[in-house]
């Protein structure tokens, strides 16, 4: 363990990691269930990408800050967000993190250091250097983590953001969740290589591509990467190879996806992989797993009940919070 890492908070146990992933899965499944029940706001779920979220966020410290994209529920939950307030926001209720004004797509939670969920693809890349500049200039040891997709990496703002962070020496840990899809377009149609990580070379930036469906591997890589950013105050690009198991958004549609591809990736499901490991190692029993799953589902049912019972914002809220 490097000296920088030794001062980090104690690493979460494998069971913690599993429980965190199960909570995210249960949250997203609750949303899918809402869609099955009737009209519900569109949501981009992160089913299949739980390891990237939990692995990276578990490597962070309380004073770190996060920016993320439309597929942010995992990042928020891993950071400790209250699923009730998340669902309330999705459902446009006044008890949501943003009073219902943002909806699913733009949740920020300052109290958790989650500065931004950007639904403008690339918006998170756009703001990240500025957030890191504040970290640099106002003191403190925190770093900034910016989650973005393989699609966002095709936006010009990716190039501008990484280049600026590099020449200005900003402490940003860029995390590309390469989930193979960019809404309705496969990654293969939009870039020549298979990986975004190596693009960091143009910016004189270190990078690492990790198996994004192995939460332990992600945690280890993210811990090293975060330590490097913390020490060097320079940016780093971490790519997590993963897969969007469902359609781009709910209600979900995968008619344009090769079933063989889905199947291959389902076999690499991050939750199944970690549970198998824990079962094999005798750290978990099948009953224990089922109990964890149930516990996560119950938490999400309670969250859903809270959200459903919450009031809509008063129409007078329409024009508040526009100006400071």
């Amino acid at each position: 363990m490097s000296p920088a890492m030794s001062s980090a908070s104690p690493a979460p146990s494998r069971l913690d990691l599993l429980a965190a992933m199960l909570r995210i899965r249960a949250y997203e499944e609750r949303i899918v269930a809402f869609h099955d029940e009737g009209p519900f706001p569109h949501v981009c779920t992160s089913v299949g990408q739980e390891a990237a979220a939990v692995g990276v966020v578990s490597a962070l410290r309380p004073d770190d800050q996060i920016l993320t994209n439309h597929r942010s529920a995992g990042h928020l939950l891993a950071r400790g967000a209250d699923p009730g307030r998340l669902l309330a926001e999705v459902m446009g209720r006044s008890t949501g993190y943003c009073k219902g004004k943002s909806g699913t797509l733009h949740i920020s939670a300052k109290e958790l250091g989650v500065i931004l969920t950007s639904t403008i693809v690339g918006g998170e890349l756009s703001l990240a250097p500025g957030v890191a500049l504040s970290r640099s200039m106002l003191g403190g040891e925190g770093i900034v983590v910016c989650f973005f997709g393989d699609g966002a990496a095709c936006e010009g703002i990716f190039h501008e953001s990484l280049n600026l962070a590099s020449v200005w020496n900003l402490p940003v840990l860029y995390v590309c969740e390469n989930n193979q899809w960019q809404a309705f377009v496969h990654r293969k149609e939009t870039m020549t290589g298979d990986h975004v990580g190596p693009w960091a070379a143009a910016y004189g930036m270190d990078h690492l591509t990790v198996d994004g469906n192995d939460v332990e591997a992600v945690l280890e890589a993210a811990t090293c990467a975060a330590a490097q950013v913390r020490q060097t105050r320079r940016p780093f690009l971490l790519e997590a190879s993963t897969y969007r198991q469902r359609g781009h958004m709910e209600p979900h549609d995968q008619s344009y996806v090769d079933p063989a591809e889905i199947e291959a990736w389902l076999a690499k499901d991050p939750i199944d992989r970690l549970s198998a490991r824990l079962l094999d190692a005798g750290e978990l029993t099948p009953q224990g797993l089922e109990a964890l799953r149930l516990q996560a589902r119950e938490a999400m049912n309670a969250a859903a009940a809270f959200a459903q019972a919450s009031p809509f914002p008063d129409p007078s809220e329409l024009t508040t919070d526009v100006y400071a």
Partner: protein, 325 residues
């Protein structure tokens, strides 16, 4: 005539124009996935997915248009145009002029916007006025499936850049659409309802709001004329002026914010060119000067409502009696 919704009408227009003119092509994020019928009919050269990069999508449209193609670029949602402004405004809108007329820019930029889907402010921002304000561009925003078809065909045939905005709330509303060669010329408003006491001027979904308000006003004995602008640039001044010179009163309605919006332009036009005919103040009823909220409750309040329009109409007419003008 057949019954179809706006998405289908657009699809029909695109298919017909691609059939008619081999220079017409279409691209954007997911276009080839979502318009599989076009892809099958016209092949992968002419129906293309792009990387997620609005700047180069717009620039590529401009470059292709300048050199012989007639691209239709789908930019999905209006706020994403913020990444495409250079290609649209600085290139497509200006380069004909800057080159002294050497190039033409026959291209269409398609984008959705408007309340009704609770998608919030990064998917819903009614910025059509920006493009009305910018030189060299044309802007359309239809309210019926027939106009979606006819205006898209006209836009594709126009030799200038046309911004084509779809009000999301209208996408799945069915309407009668003429078969085949059905063109709605750019720059022509439609009188959706004739009336004598006041003119309601609007475009996109709020045309329907105005029609509902006109019904309500009729119940109060007032006859409202309803004008659907259809094309926001160039504006159909003649139709507007004729109507307001007849009725003497006007309310402009749109979901976009009021400040420097199309309603401001229409009011300014009328206040200059129909001044002597005006019997009452020109009123705007618009979305608030605030980002679009996601919450259903707030989004409903964001969109102009028939009751408010009808009330404003009543006030305008009753005011005459009060002011004695």
């Amino acid at each position: 005539m057949s019954l179809m919704n706006a998405h289908e009408a657009l699809g029909q227009a695109l298919a017909e124009e691609m059939q008619r003119d081999s220079r017409v092509l279409m691209f954007g994020e997911g276009v080839a996935t979502k318009r599989k019928d076009l892809l099958e009919a016209f092949g992968p050269q002419r129906v293309r997915n792009t990387p997620l990069a609005e700047g180069i999508i717009a620039g590529t449209a401009a470059g292709a248009a300048a050199t012989g193609l007639r691209p239709v670029a789908d930019l999905l949602f209006a706020p994403f145009l913020c990444f495409a402004m250079d290609g649209i405004v600085n290139s497509a809108g200006k380069l004909r002029y800057m080159s002294g007329g050497q190039f033409e820019f026959p291209m269409v930029i398609l984008a959705m916007t408007g309340g009704g889907w609770t998608v919030g402010a990064q998917h819903n921002h009614n910025i059509e006025a920006w493009f009305v304000h910018s030189p060299g561009l044309k802007v359309v925003m239809p309210s019926t499936p027939a106009d979606f078809k006819g205006l898209m065909k006209a836009a594709i045939r126009d030799d200038n850049p046309v911004l084509f905005f779809m009000d999301m709330a209208l996408g799945f509303e069915p309407g009668e659409v003429p078969e085949g060669e059905w063109i709605v010329p750019l720059g022509q408003a439609a009188i959706r309802r004739e009336g004598t006491d006041l003119t309601l001027i609007s475009y996109a979904k709020t045309v329907h709001t105005c029609l509902a308000a006109a019904d309500a006003l009729a119940g109060q004995g007032l006859s409202a004329e309803v004008i659907d602008l259809r094309t926001l640039k160039p504006l159909d001044e003649a139709t507007l002026l004729a109507s307001v010179r007849k009725t003497g009163r006007a309310i402009v309605v749109h979901e976009a914010g009021a400040l420097c919006g199309v309603g401001a332009e229409v009011a300014a036009l009328l206040s200059e060119k129909a001044f002597d005919a005006l019997k009452a103040p020109l009123v705007r009823i618009t979305g608030p000067d605030a980002p679009a909220p996601s919450s259903y409750a707030l989004e409903q309040a964001f969109m102009p409502q028939p009751a408010a329009i009808a009330q404003a109409g009543l006030d305008l007419v009753q005011r005459d009696a009060l002011v004695g003008r």
